[in-house]
Amino acid sequence: MTLLQVEDLATHFFTRDGVAKAVDGVSFSLDRGEILGLVGESGSGKSVTGFSLLGLVDPPGRIVSGKIVFDGEDLVKGGEPMMRTLRGKRIAMIFQDPMMTLNPVLRIDTQMVETVLAHERISRKSALERCREALARVGIASPDERLKSYPHQFSGGMRQRVAIAIALLHEPDLIIADEPTTALDVTIQAQILSEVQKLCADTGLAMIWITHDLAVVSGLADQLAVMYAGKIIETGETGRVIEAPLHPYTKGLIASVPQGQKHGALLAQIPGTTPSLLNLPEGCSFRPRCPRADAACQEEPPLGALLPGRAARCFHPHLDERREALAS
């Protein structure tokens, strides 16, 4: 059952130097209990997509067109009043740096109770009880004691757990997680990932996991959407995208991650750098860095369904290798 349907979303930033099309025609849908991995490098528009869903885009940026249909209602049309009733209640967000989420001068209990009371009229005592449960659920030992602490008394991993606990307070339908484990050490990252996995399985929570790290999300997400320069350039079921990427960018991204078998050898690299959003090349924006680009790429390729359940925005997708593999 579709929980979230994003159609042709465009968020532009109107700066002095011109219009930066941070998100430019992004469409995807998400079912209940599903995890979508939204992958891209810095400046690809993945975070702005997340912010747009929650109506958190600040001027000079704004949503210029598109639909965000959440559980049957269009959030873009509903505007800020509708957003206020949903944000934190049915859609929650986890940010990269938990120190930025948490107020450093308030105790954890104050911040958590505030979140509960913002959406529900219940007694302070039962609100506190709810907070205690949420902390216990994300694996924080002795939650009673921890409620009385300040954010600086927690370690990085614990702070991120608290941020997740706050996101869970109202048992939302959807959590948008923006690089939630990037600032954490590997062993702590694994703890958070296993916690999130359990939560999604237990509660039927849907999640959008925004990250630059394809490897981390590959073991977690059901669906992948790869973004480049404000557009989704490839989507599909995670395992199949990783196994046989269609878009040359996705293929390059996978090849440039150092993994065991390539020890000592030169890494496959994507030449050049991510283009500035203010100055995108004509046609396919990956064209100047793409080994397969030719004259046809001066036109903008559509996001075409190339295989069942798979789509890529490319005129020269990696389909031929597939055919050969199938033929042999």
Binding site: T187, A215, I242, E243, V257, G260, Q269, I270
Partner: protein, 337 residues
């Protein structure tokens, strides 16, 4: 391989001295002690000429402090660092300058390590000119050569750091380090802040430069995947101590120490199926108050009473392979792990 650099039982303590009130309280009989943090605790390593030694560990394990001591940015509290058989700390005058030039460092964040008010040719060219490595007249040509070696177009030489992308800034940081013709480069998380596709470019640059200039690297990173890719040998640190050391292939294939085992298991790899994440428990303890015995015992799945009481020593468990774990004394116990 003859070692170019030897780190001999080096320790670094950061001590917060008592303030006036605390000194007074102590004078009046209270038991306030100066706060000491053992950032690096008795680490010994030797690095051969032309070798790449990867140094891995999580935040607060002392890997950066060790790197800064090697680069001469801070001095060890105990122990010695010998570069080409000479104790760096005891060198004076020209010999000390020579050693300082031969060991250079590439930092994590190029934006905070490059002077925003200097142009690229000044950033790269200043040190070689001042140290008389190239005559003043030839500096421009020399800078152009270094820049193109690092994959930058020499025409950018009059630009300022803010006019570059992250990957290009990383290249400027590398160019600056190379400009004084070093033999040894300490790379402290030099690729951590970069996007994956750019990270691959910079890693390839590091490997190419090593071939061309016969450089030796101490490559510090929290990312075992990156370290494994570039290193000949890997050293793993935990809370100031060296816990395991071995060749890259061997250490990744057969991690001996339970901490290394956990690190290796948790390198994010490409999965085509959903992965069941299983995490080692607990947090990294504060270095201000490390657990007794083996620092890892509160998180270790194989911990037994001895681990709480006795500090394991780093000993050779196989040729060229060192590990600091009591399990190795019990033979079969470790292989079962």
């Amino acid at each position: 391989m003859t070692p170019i650099l030897e780190i001999d039982a080096v320790s670094k303590r950061f001590v917060k001295e008592l303030d006036v009130a605390e000194r007074t309280a102590r004078f009046l009989g209270s038991k306030i002690e100066p706060l000491a943090i053992h950032a690096v605790d008795g680490v010994s390593l030797s690095i051969g000429r032309g070798e790449v030694l990867g140094l891995v560990g999580e935040s607060g394990c002392g890997k950066s402090t060790l790197g800064r001591m090697v680069a001469g940015l801070t001095t060890p509290s105990e122990g010695h660092i010998r570069f080409r058989d000479a104790d760096v700390a005891s060198l004076t005058g020209a010999a000390a300058r020579e050693a300082a030039l031969k060991i250079q460092m590439v930092f994590q964040d190029p934006m905070s390590s490059l002077n925003p008010r200097l142009r690229v040719d000044e950033i790269v060219g200043e040190a070689p000119r001042v140290h008389g490595i190239v005559p003043r007249k030839e500096t421009a040509a020399y800078v152009d050569d270094i820049l193109s070696r690092c994959g930058l177009d020499p025409s950018v030489r009059r630009r300022y750091p803010h006019q570059f992308s992250g990957g290009q800034r990383a290249r400027i940081g590398i160019a600056r380090a190379l400009a004084v013709k070093p033999d040894f480069i300490v790379c402290d998380e030099s690729v951590a802040a970069l996007d994956v596709s750019i990270q691959a470019q910079v890693l390839n640059l590091f490997m190419r430069l090593r071939e061309e200039l016969n450089l030796t690297y101490l490559f510090i990173s929290h990312d075992l995947g990156v370290v494994e890719h570039i290193s000949d040998r890997i050293a793993v640190m935990y809370l100031g101590r060296l816990v395991e050391l071995g060749t890259a292939e061997d250490l990744m294939a057969r991690p001996n120490h339970p901490y290394t085992q956990a690190l290796v298991a948790e390198i994010p790899t490409f999965e085509t199926k959903k992965k069941q994440y299983s995490a080692i428990k607990g947090e990294i303890p504060s270095p201000m108050n490390p657990p007794p015995g083996c620092h890892f015992h509160p998180r270790c799945p194989h911990a037994h009473p001895r681990c709480k009481a006795e500090r394991p020593t780093l000993r050779e468990v196989a040729p060229g392979r060192f590990s600091a774990c009591h399990l190795n004394d019990e033979g079969a116990a470790s292989t079962a792990a």
